[in-house]
Amino acid sequence: MEEKTMSEKESLELISSMIKKTQQNLENSNGRPFLIWGYTTVFVSLLVYFVVSKTNNYHYHLLWFLIPLIGITLMMLTRKKRDKKQHVVTFLAQAILKVWTVVGIAAMLVAVGSFFANIPILGIMLLLMGMGTMITGLLIRFNLIVISGIIGMLFSALPFVVQQMEQILIFGAIFLLIMVIPGHVLNYKSRKSHV
């Protein structure tokens, strides 16, 4: 591309073709974050369930904090790999990041608050994650993710209908349903649209 005189029509064509070219690479919404957080939550839920039911020691509920630890580490590792080539941030990616930052902070505050007060923590977590998932689904216009978010929010009533230990297993199963499965579907669709 050189510095040359363009007609008005050529200018408009150039603008629209550059915008189109830029958007092409960026619309490959990927399911990786859903898979990372989904699988991590399923794994930690099973771990907490088995350890607490074997030992009857409720201090092992601290294992829940493995979720942010493992999740953030995996997110950073996969991000580094991807960003080595080039760096570009879209408005959409920025919006999604902000939504999950708010959800993440709220989740951490609730988790810390649960040390001081008896709160239905798993239900609140499902409500928060369901909200984050639904907003993400609406932003990327992917109905399965929107529905997953609604299911997550619906199940926030879980602590009021199920016993405490069973809650943990169901909590893991819901994450499988609302994050792992949509994450795989999103990846599959993204791959398919780029073939």
Partner: protein, 98 residues
């Protein structure tokens, strides 16, 4: 009455850079170069011109050990771009009328 075309934007490579940056939050030199297909030297000169005019913000830093130049469009740049597109539209409308 024709609106004057901004000479800074009425250049193929600079207009391409602005068109990329108007559609993202920020992008680095490698991304812009890949999309425009321009040579590194030429792109660097044009980015400097846009930056000197205050149309874009350029942050030079490092990502790991690699140098990284991240560009972002400014409010002034957005206004200039909008003005340029409107001016072009006015030219094309006149063409249509004739």
């Amino acid at each position: 009455m024709f609106k004057a075309l901004d000479p800074l934007l009425h250049s193929e490579l600079r207009l391409a850079v602005m068109s990329i940056l108007i559609s993202v939050e920020e992008a680095d030199f490698v991304f812009i170069r890949g999309k425009t297909g321009a040579s590194a030297g030429n792109l660097s000169v044009q980015i400097d011109k846009l930056s000197e005019a205050g149309y874009i913000e350029v942050n030079k830093g490092f990502k790991g050990k690699r140098p990284q130049t991240v560009c972002k469009i400014t409010q002034k740049g957005i206004k200039a771009f909008e003005g340029y597109v409107n001016a072009i539209k006015s030219y094309l409308d006149v063409d249509k009328d004739n």
